[in-house]
Symmetry: C2
Subunit: 435 residues, 2 copies
């Protein structure tokens, strides 16, 4: 046994270059990495010992990257819907978190989220929640990949009672954590309205010296701008520019309120936008100008946000919505075509997270983070255009097989790396407690 | 054997009254109809001979009503995306139809659409396409229910070469067709810009005398209004009012361009709106003001439109999008709450189609058009709110069992009434021909 596996899908969608669909090709994966992409007929000569796996009705593509979320919040999905952002947060989400969101909650919620994401074709997620050390353990066990945020805000919680306390606790997580190939870390100040200048400055220095991303909710609602103007006498972006934080380290979630000048500045500054179309629509927050940002050259990634405001961690639904949302709001039917939304959900997500040398596309030398999507269903018949189907038509349940860093996490729709029944029953136990 | 079947779901969502969720209840169905809804413990006494079927992890609800579509267009899904409406229509869809859309095409496409819809929980659809007589045959064979439009327009096609020709052909379809319980008919003038005043008047008279709905594309784009003003010196709604057609028989698809005065008029007139959020966003047509229409008391139904502009006939995706779209565009997070979107996709659809005395809710005496949705999946765990899950979270693949008029069309996700392999292979043959 060489240990090499050769996957021969009906269609290979490497994502880089954008729009390419290959047939009669094989992807050879080794222990962790993609070793080769070659015409299937060359396999016998070049990799004679590889175990061949045919995916005769499938598209093979890079695993999807969920660029913004709060994974343990899956335990609160459907708990409160159809409410304004602040009422939803202050009267439902925060009180529930205050009462329940400890280590065990985070463990159960992260596990359910990892299970939901892996089986739905998401192989990497960018998170921001309390107890990221616990989420890290779940990431290691489940086989998924993540960039985990160390939360910071001026709201006391079970995790810390001051901004300084949050930062210290974050640093101690890093001290105690042994490095892991599938885990990266980021600083995650919550939002401009919950983080002071002093803390932003300290996080700017820390991110710079540690080469970390700064994961921030930014311009989620219009109210944030007027609040900033009354509290800081400036626009949130102006404030971040003044603090030296409006740069390529910044990964900014939502960004629903942007002028053309701010779009240009965002492009020049190299700030990455984490677009959450479902949550922005559900909470009626506003419209992230994806078409204009894309035209300006801003790197846009796609995130589900937490399941309490989505209510799913489903990157297939989110890709589709990213295209529909961009067209619908800009009244430009050419905005966010299918191949661009697929890029946003893969390589552009990887780029935002600083992981694009390792993941986000099917390329030789990258990690074998791959998903197989079975298009042999009534709803994806016939197949005129594979990428169109992946974005507009396929559902996450059509993901049959998932590899992360070469490990087979899902086989024939069954999770291989987790005890599904136990994860689901623990989630039900938490739901009962909350009632 | 009494022939009676008692379904005992974990959750029963009758839809009428809106928002109700019952547990520990049974629905007893007879040959075609719902005979009783009762506490499960009364079943032994009242229906001792009923065959009991437990749906232990399922919600049972009325089948979904897809209120606007062009079913055979599934054969063109993904053929042309990311284009403006008129370019998409004139350079891609119409030439393809011109070349291929004959009887065999309609038979293959209608069958694929019926298969996709039934397995996805849609039990009734409202259609407008050529050869509705062929679609009727597929409806009869497949077990689904439909309101079939008799198309009329001033564009020559294989179906007819003049408006008068379309109307004659429609009348002859009705003459030849033997009545069927699961099939209703409507007149389907295409749109104000493709139908003359004379034909509208004739269709108004025919609809009135035959008690038919008038199924029309209306205000799909802003261009339609300026065109009408230059051609007819009035707004399309003004024109329909003048022609005596703006009334409860009119089921108007799209309606993306409405002033507050027109919304009030629509409510007063009893016109039904067939909302197609995915197609309107994908083609960047504009925004149907669901929140304002709903507040004004207009009956709104939900449709997928054809699969060439969606690209799925998926009422679960469409319900979710109806809520997200209404909130996102109106910037009102309370707009189109989950229970309202579920009503729009069921009882309000039935009402639009004039079928609400027979279908659209789980009520005694109505037809047994029922679907079971399995919520025991990672993505719908835990269950705080069943209706929220049905709208925001569940996917169509979670539909496990479907009954139409008491007939079991889908059992354990497998279609019972059609030869799935044959339907899919015929669709692939058509796709090959088109390439």
């Amino acid at each position: 046994m060489s240990g090499e596996v050769a996957l021969i899908p009906k269609w290979l969608v490497p994502v880089v270059p954008e729009g390419l669909v290959l047939t009669d090709h094989a992807v050879v994966i080794g222990r962790h990495q993609i070793l080769a992409i070659l015409p299937a007929h060359e396999l016998g000569e070049r990799y004679p010992q590889a175990t061949i796996e045919r995916l005769d009705t499938h598209a093979l593509l890079p695993g999807l990257v969920n660029a913004h979320g709060h994974s343990p919040m899956v335990l609160m999905r459907g708990l409160a819907d159809d409410l304004p952002l602040m009422e939803w947060l202050q009267e439902h989400i925060w009180p529930t978190e205050q009462a329940f969101a400890g280590e065990a909650f985070v463990r159960a919620g992260s596990a359910l989220a990892a299970l939901e994401m892996l089986t739905g074709g998401t192989t990497c997620f960018n998170d921001n929640y309390f107890f990221p050390n616990i989420t890290a353990e779940v990431v290691i066990e489940s086989g998924i990949r993540a960039l985990l945020g160390l939360p910071v805000m001026n709201v006391p919680t079970i995790w810390a009672d001051s901004e300084a306390g949050y930062i210290e606790r974050g640093l101690s997580v890093l001290d105690e954590f042994e490095g892991h190939d599938r885990i990266g870390w980021a600083w995650a100040p919550h939002a401009p309205y919950t983080v002071t200048d002093a803390s932003f400055e300290r996080l700017g220095d820390l991110s710079e010296s540690m080469d970390f991303r700064l994961h921030l909710h930014l311009l989620e609602t219009a109210g944030e701008i007027t609040d900033s103007q009354s509290q800081y006498q400036c626009h949130p972006i102006e404030r971040l520019v003044r603090l030296g934080l409006y740069n390529h380290r910044l990964i900014a979630a939502h960004m629903t309120q942007l002028t053309p000048e701010e779009i240009a500045l965002t492009a020049e500054s190299g700030v990455h936008v984490l677009h959450c179309p479902a949550a922005n629509m559900k909470l009626a927050s506003g419209f992230c100008p994806v078409d204009a940002l894309d035209t300006a050259g801003v790197n846009i990634a796609i995130g589900t946000d937490g399941a309490a405001s989505n209510n799913r961690l489903d990157m297939f639904a989110e890709m589709r919505l990213a295209s529909l949302n961009a067209k619908g709001f800009s009244l430009n039917p050419v905005a966010a075509p299918a191949e661009r939304s697929l890029s946003m959900a893969t390589i552009q997500g990887a780029k935002a997270l600083g992981l694009d040398s390792d993941i986000g596309s099917v390329e030789v030398g990258k990690q074998a983070d791959l998903i197989a999507v079975n298009l042999d269903e009534p709803g994806t018949t016939p197949v005129h255009n594979v990428i169109s189907h992946l974005v507009y038509t396929a559902g996450r349940h059509q993901v049959t097989d998932v590899w992360v860093a070469g490990q087979r996490c899902v086989r024939g729709r069954e999770i291989q790396t987790m005890d599904q029944d136990s994860v689901i029953s623990k989630a039900h136990e938490w739901a009962s407690k909350m009632h």
